[in-house]
Amino acid sequence: MSGVSRAEYCVIACAETWRDAGEILASPMGLIPSIGARLARHTFSPDLLLTDGEALLVTPDGTVEGWLPYRQHLTLVTGGRRHVMMGASQIDRYGNQNISCIGDWTKPKRQLLGVRGAPVNTLNNPTSYWIPKHSRRVFVEKADMVCGVGYDHALDARHHRIPRVVSDLGVFDFTTPDRSMRLASLHPEVTVDQVKEATAFAVTIPDDVPYTRDPTPAELHLIREVIDPRNTRIREVEA
């Protein structure tokens, strides 16, 4: 399909994160995941719960349908009825994620946010990631501070699951024998070499890599006219 921007393919890839999720809370962090979650809610996952970014549960048009202060949000996390899509300053081949600091933790080269809720998220509800700028600085050999737990550290933690990682280049999952990262789809016009060049570890490349699916005309209309008419999505992914 021509005329679909990279940002719009990213929206579709993020929306797919919540397909068939049922009546759970979608917790998107970042602009494009937020547009994706609302698109999923509008179309193939109408039972999703969404927040206003603070303590209210709202329908797509902003109608308040519930109250979710932090204390209840944390119970929702540990109850497992949630699929969060977090960001990552670093993510490694097993999906260990870092948002705390770069360098030696005792005296970091660059202090970031802190671990936040990444440890509790990853042990309790499905956790996916959104990386708006795929690069070797983010897709690293080893995360400096493991906040979100990856498959090698989670061992057999009973509720641990990282369904997907979406970047501006493609979609990745961990469906390999050793649960390391695999390229699941490329966004149209992206090459396998581009992905390899922008990734500091050897990502598994299947023989036949599909492209991320096209949006339907109805989905494009929703993205462009209803959910994000001011085109904020290009702030995260250009063109």
Binding site: P69, R71, T106, V115, P119, L123, M145, C147, V149, H159
Partner: protein
């Protein structure tokens, strides 16, 4: 009680819990009063925002217990960040849920609470004192035994309170202010307005009465006491001033805004925001 009287009851070396979340409903007037004292060597327990940033910038923190520090609309707290990058204080970096269960343990007089969080992450590497516990039941799962975060004092800010210490929040989220007070030996509550007890339930229904007087030591009327953080519905975050805070070198900010009392602060803010 005034903010300065509350601050005068605190001591160097104390473990201090600070309510609110990020740059939301932080007891900033109490933090400013604390900055006017010589009190230092603090262990600060906070869902961190500019409270952590200011105390870190002023060198008052010996140890911080936190999951993050942020200004929300400005994701990285600049003074927290600078202090960390020069290794200025000891840090117990724990997950948001571990933090909450640590306060629950303290409030319930328990030594710890089992938490499904932390295992597998580097929270365990950077906090080697954390212990795990295995379920004595058939599931046999291993959890982190999150130690109680008992506080010497808690500082929180709410919308309304009566003189006895019954505190009311009118915004969308109570955060964990009640829990901070229950986990503390003493609790100082600042509020936008002190009202008669009989008026508390008139403005909002009883579930808004978050703080109970038996866990509150002192009440301080501090209009604008959360500034520049949000205190809805009384006021939103002062984004312009927060930006000034985040971009002004600390010594200059402190000299310009924190060299006098609370009234001087508010006048300096007014002058900076709408110059004549």
């Amino acid at each position: 009680m005034t903010s300065d009287e509350a601050a005068s009851r605190l001591e160097s070396g104390m473990t201090l819990g600070i309510g609110g979340w990020g740059s939301r409903r932080k007891p900033m007037a109490l933090v400013r009063a604390l900055l006017r004292t010589e009190i230092t060597d603090l262990t600060v327990v906070s869902y961190g925002g500019p409270d952590v940033g200011m105390l870190a910038a002023a060198g008052r923190i010996r140890k911080l217990i936190a999951a993050f520090a942020t200004l929300d609309s400005i994701p990285l707290e600049p003074h927290f960040r600078a202090a960390r990058e020069r290794g200025a204080f000891e840090l117990m970096e724990i997950d948001e849920a571990m933090f909450m269960w640590g306060l629950h343990a303290a409030a319930n007089r328990l030594p710890f609470m089992p938490v499904r969080a932390g295992i597998g992450s580097d929270v365990m590497r950077v906090n080697p004192e954390l212990r795990t516990i295995t379920s004595p039941y058939a599931d046999g799962e291993t959890f982190v035994a999150m130690p109680a975060l008992r506080l010497d004092a808690a500082l929180v800010h709410v919308n309304r309170a009566d003189r006895q210490g019954n505190g009311q929040y009118l915004g969308p989220d109570p955060y964990f202010d009640d829990l901070f007070c229950e986990a503390a030996d003493t609790a100082y509550v600042s509020c936008e307005r002190i009202v008669d007890t009989a008026d508390l339930a008139k403005e909002a229904p009883p579930p808004s009465l978050l703080l109970k007087r038996h866990v509150v030591t002192g009440v301080i009327e501090a209009p604008g006491g959360a500034h520049f953080t949000s205190c809805v519905p009384d006021y939103a975050r002062d984004e312009a001033f927060q930006k000034t805070y985040a971009t002004t070198p600390w010594p200059e900010f402190a000299a310009r805004f924190l060299s006098g009392d609370e009234q001087a602060y508010q006048s300096a803010v007014k002058e900076a925001t709408c110059p004549e």
